[in-house]
Symmetry: C2
Subunit: 710 residues, 2 copies
């Protein structure tokens, strides 16, 4: 006999159900549901198998976060197996349900506490964790398991995150615009807050929690002081209340000069006692409204933003002052290392290292220094930042960019997992072979416990969140890697495709092939052989000819250094010497142009146009071949997408097919821009077998100019 | 016996069905479908009645536009009566269908040609018009008839538009932002065009066509020259191809200096032959891509925009030059009269009249001068612009603002039909009593045939199009009035509520009451007694104290003229003399402060604080009472909304309820700002019975300051 089950909620799923329930009847899939589609399981025996575990959900914890887990499971099972599953407080000897088991264990490290285990125990699926958050992650993992059609018999899945702070950075402005946003306007409706809570906030939280993301910075690093005002703290608190239910802590970017501009003080000097008191009181005010506030993210003395150097202080002085304000609370200060000076004779590559390595060991333990993956700025391919491994006394966090600032906005398909992995897997040799960037970031190399991986978000108000439907995979990949950087690009793509696009193997394989090659194809037509393009302008259009700018290091010629002799930036000892910032074993890889892997060649060497490369071609010929091959490979991508059509929703098929056409056109644009411009230096024809550009350099410049007009 | 029906389409409704098919299953109504919901008819006898006319749709015209009409009817009947209705070419003696009857009649004026008649003939519902567009409008009218539950037996509905060019003006920028947009980012995805056509373009076209709107200006009047480039013309053409299927012609705003900045000429002087040739070639290029292109909208020599005056030429010179370029085509030039000079001693009120009246009769017949409803700038209440009626030799078009620049953005509920009607119904007395603005605009007063009504759009990428769900009614009201300015605010509200929110009478009545009073309530707490607020800053927050700006006429004090003696702008002969721009009968209404209707009092008079008004209160007391009554009336609005709850979708209920809370808070903010600031001049206490503001002026200024921070 079963004892009476105490149902504490059956009437479920009102507002938050929207992700799952916006399925258009036959207008096609609009992409809103992301990878949380929960569509009916088609295989009847598999469905029957899942039904065996769908009698109840037992949530004895009955907390906000486990409540979210239970609600998600209810909604998902309703979709997957078509059953309204009751949530009960106690198992009471029953079988055939999903059981939450909270086992707090103070001996575990914080990271281990967030881990979960999913096991079949006495006919139930038990999700066990030391924390409520871990149970939520376990619930999403279970659903991923089921959505990809795996068996639950004897299931035993265990997972622990490798990084502690897994977060998105939103470069969203208070006016609703997004710096480097290509998917509509900001998700945050500041003018409606705090009274109106957009239902989308919860769906945003669900999507992130499903990946294990546990933090979000709501506003742009080029920060408005507005967010430190009482008015905005209350608005932020309203969003934080939604995030909290999904184990996500809310953070803010701060404007370093706020004590002056908002607080009315005469200075923002971090050593001034009044300034310190202002920040302490400000942080206290925030915690009164947001008890689980995460902390501050700071861009200081960078690209015109104010900072401690305005007062002759160091980055450490600035960061430590803020850290002091967080002393009474469980919050952190994330200080960005993205700094460089407008010096025509310097090498921007070296700037962050030069400024930050001398400060190693001087930061308060509450500070994490957040470093972009490469030394410059989110280029299609960059060597890893030489800071990684070289600040053993300071926790370094990773900053990846998910939004496609240099990757074709929302028009080009570029799967970014290989970019993230390339950096994480790079060996710094700091403690001998195997000292990968991943080990720096996850703290294992130097014994940090405050570890961080951040991704600059690609989300916006567009219905499908990311503009390009395939860009959803980049959000997904970032989240999954922030939890476990050992997952492979292939695994993640395969998982995402199954959850989001199709479970049919053949179409899935074509899409996976497209995704996995997309980054190299993009590099080929955009920045082959180690070229880069962090010039000012629209970041959308090719402008290799750009030689004038507000700063010398905001021109194209500063980076590619094309001249009649050749192309590329000499960073060896004969050049800027930037290579010396790496360990000898790394220097060895890139020091000699003869041995430098071609993808990095022009990052480190100025190479003659007629220099024969390992491919047997001269630099000029190889460049042309890569640019042409890259542009032509977009046709191959189109073909792969067409071959997958039978497995795809019509609307998503058409959406991506349209964007691939744009990508093809723009790939040719990039190709021709490089070829025609560099030809003015190389003085050589386009190699035989490749059709010379149909447009002239002047025509091309004109077409680019259009995008620079107000 | 029936002859064989030739079905030329049964497989219908793929992409364009999305408006109707995004109905969330139980997540609530997200508002995407606007007033085109087509939900199942609940009354069974009514449903049976409609089914009698749902056997077929006969489209013998078989054109793009009638195809849209047929598709819409199919989709709608599928929703309303749950039947897939076939589209056939010929009626062939059958009964029980909907029949398109195109009867071209060249004797009709263009306006009459767009009209339609819906009649029951031999058991069929016949939609007859001289044009395909008229048939489309008739189809939407028929659906409105059915959606509001009216009988089709012996139906005989006839309607002809009163204005020829009925259009939206989008102030959308090429970077996706919208000037004065409060509902997300631009609908137009320039980076994806022309290859990818967002399915939303078609739903946008459907919504507009359903109201009779037949033109759209895609880009901001503060125009980018980009739109004149080949790259962008091709993108525009892709949107125009969608609009064309719904009888909507596409227009562009132009940057007057484009010949210089884009064309590379040394001048943009409208009398320069090279400039004229450049524009002619540009217009020809546009028509090659967009054969039904509508024309140009121009903001010139206004708020820093370039124009003919830069070369010592007149607005007429500039407009006529562009008109010349349109000579070979059926396009027009719409020239805005929104001009004023930065002169601290002038009265901005008079500027447009002073510049444009002397040019009357000098414009090419292809030019329409577009005039804002009031002389200043879309204030919550303005007297009608004195230009109306005073340019008998020039067609004047109306420019209304639908987006709520000065009406609380997307946070405040303000139903705008009464604003539009107030202006249209105003009597200019130009040809004696009854010379209403409406008669100027529809051409009947002076015999214009090129007539225009434009509305600055409130649409954006937000899922529900307009941010505030009730703001959809403003788009609707504008469209309906552009077709027939004799409709009343009540009729339009009633219609919109039934189509969009609820057909239950009691809830509907509460919502209608809320809507109809909303504008006066807003005026009461925002700009009572004829105050105005066109100051610079964020247009969101109260700043009556603002006395410094980039221009003298961009300050608050320029407009309200508060001093120790009193308040208001003297525009009589003793003051700026602006009243003299009106006919004597109008002057009479507003010349004497004793007789001036209170809503216009401070528009025309500087009134002493202790002056007794018709209400028996002094100016100061009356001001306070209106500000307090207005703010308190928002509570009444909340109550009306709550009383309507049983008739409302839950999600829409919650959305508006949240926004009303914001409105209540901000209404108090506005009230207190005016009271505390004006109190520094009046030196009087808040009248007895009203609770004095809880905040000080300094605190209030600080809270406003937050919104002015970068």
């Amino acid at each position: 006999m079963f004892r009476l089950l105490i149902l504490f909620t059956l009437c479920v799923l009102t507002r938050s159900v929207s992700l799952a329930d916006h399925l258009p009847v036959d207008g096609g899939d609009d992409g809103y549901r992301l990878w949380l589609k929960y569509e009916p399981v088609k295989d009847l025996s598999r469905k029957a198998h899942y039904l065996k575990y769908s009698s109840f959900i037992s949530d004895a914890v009955h907390s906000e976060i486990t409540g979210s887990a239970a609600k998600e499971l209810q909604m998902a099972l309703n979709g997957l197996v078509g059953k309204s599953v009751p949530v009960v407080a106690k198992v009471a000897g029953r079988r055939g349900g999903i059981v939450f088991s909270l086992g707090p264990d103070s001996t575990l490290m914080p990271l281990q506490q967030e881990g979960y285990q999913i096991r079949e125990v006495s006919g139930n699926i038990v999700i066990r964790s030391a924390t409520e958050g871990g149970i939520l992650y376990g619930a999403f993992a279970l659903l991923r398991h089921m959505q990809t059609g795996q068996s639950l018999s004897g299931v035993n899945v265990k997972s622990t995150p490798k990084v502690r702070y897994r977060m998105l950075n939103h470069w969203d402005n208070p006016d609703g615009t997004i710096e480097r946003g290509y998917a509509g306007s900001s998700l945050w409706k500041w003018y409606e807050l705090p009274e109106r809570i957009d239902p989308r906030y919860e769906d945003y939280a669900r999507a992130n929690a499903s990946l294990g993301i546990n933090g979000t910075v709501l506003n742009n690093v080029n920060a408005s002081a507005r967010f430190m005002s009482r008015e905005y703290i209350v608005k932020v608190a309203a969003i934080a209340a939604v995030m909290r239910r999904y184990g996500i802590r809310t953070y803010l970017s701060v404007y370093f000069a706020a004590p002056k501009t908002l607080g009315g003080l005469t200075t923002s000097d971090p050593l001034d006692p009044k300034v310190r008191a202002w920040w302490s009181e400000k942080v206290a005010e925030i915690y009164r409204e947001i008890p689980d506030f995460g902390g501050f993210l700071v861009k200081a003395n960078s690209e015109g933003e104010p900072g401690p150097q305005d007062y002759g202080r160091t980055h450490a002085d600035g960061a430590n002052m803020l850290a002091e304000a967080f002393k009474p609370y469980d919050g952190i200060v994330i200080w960005r290392a993205f700094v460089y000076k407008a010096d025509p004779n310097a090498d921007r590559f070296k700037a962050a290292y030069e400024e930050f390595v001398p400060l190693d060991g001087k930061f308060d333990p509450r500070v994490i220094v957040q470093v972009k993956n490469g030394p410059i700025d989110f280029q299609p391919r960059e060597p890893f930042s030489p800071l990684f491994g070289n600040m053993p006394g300071t926790p370094l966090g990773m900053e990846f960019q998910i939004t496609q600032e240099y990757l074709g906005f929302a028009a080009h398909a570029v799967y970014e997992a290989p970019i993230f992995k390339e950096c994480l897997d790079a060996d710094t040799y700091v403690k001998g072979q195997g000292s990968t960037v991943a080990k720096v970031i996850d703290g294992s190399l130097h014994g940090y416990t405050r570890t961080l991986m951040a991704g600059v978000a690609n989300t916006g108000s567009d219905r499908n969140w990311t503009g390009h439907p395939l860009a959803q995979a980049n959000w997904y990949a970032f989240g999954r890697l922030s939890w476990d950087h050992q997952l492979t690009s292939e695994q993640i793509a395969n998982e995402w495709i199954q959850l989001t696009l199709t479970r049919q193997p053949k179409p899935g394989a074509h899409i996976q092939a497209l995704m996995l090659r997309s980054r190299e194809i993009y590099v080929d037509y955009n920045t082959p052989l180690g070229l880069s393009r962090p010039w000012m302008g629209v970041h959308f259009a090719p402008e290799p000819w750009q030689s004038r700018g507000a700063r010398p290091d905001w021109t194209a010629t500063y980076y590619h250094r094309a001249d009649s002799a050749g192309l590329g930036f000499d960073r060896t000892a004969n050049g800027s010497g930037a290579l010396a910032q790496y360990r000898p074993q790394v220097q060895q890889q890139w020091n000699d142009p003869e041995n430098t892997a071609l993808p990095y060649l022009l990052w480190f060497h100025h190479v003659g146009w007629d220099k024969k490369l390992g491919t047997g071609r001269t630099l000029w010929d190889e460049l042309c071949h890569r640019l042409y091959t890259g542009a032509d490979s977009v046709v191959w991508m189109q073909q792969q997408w067409d071959l997958a059509r039978t497995g795809l929703d019509n609307r998503i098929y058409a959406d991506v097919a349209g964007r691939l056409k744009v990508q093809r056109r723009e790939a040719i644009w990039w190709r021709d821009a490089w070829v025609l411009y560099l030809q003015t230096f190389s003085k050589q024809p386009v190699p035989k077998g490749l059709e010379p550009p149909r447009q002239t350099l002047e025509e091309l410049k004109k077409s680019v100019g259009v995008y620079l007009i107000r």
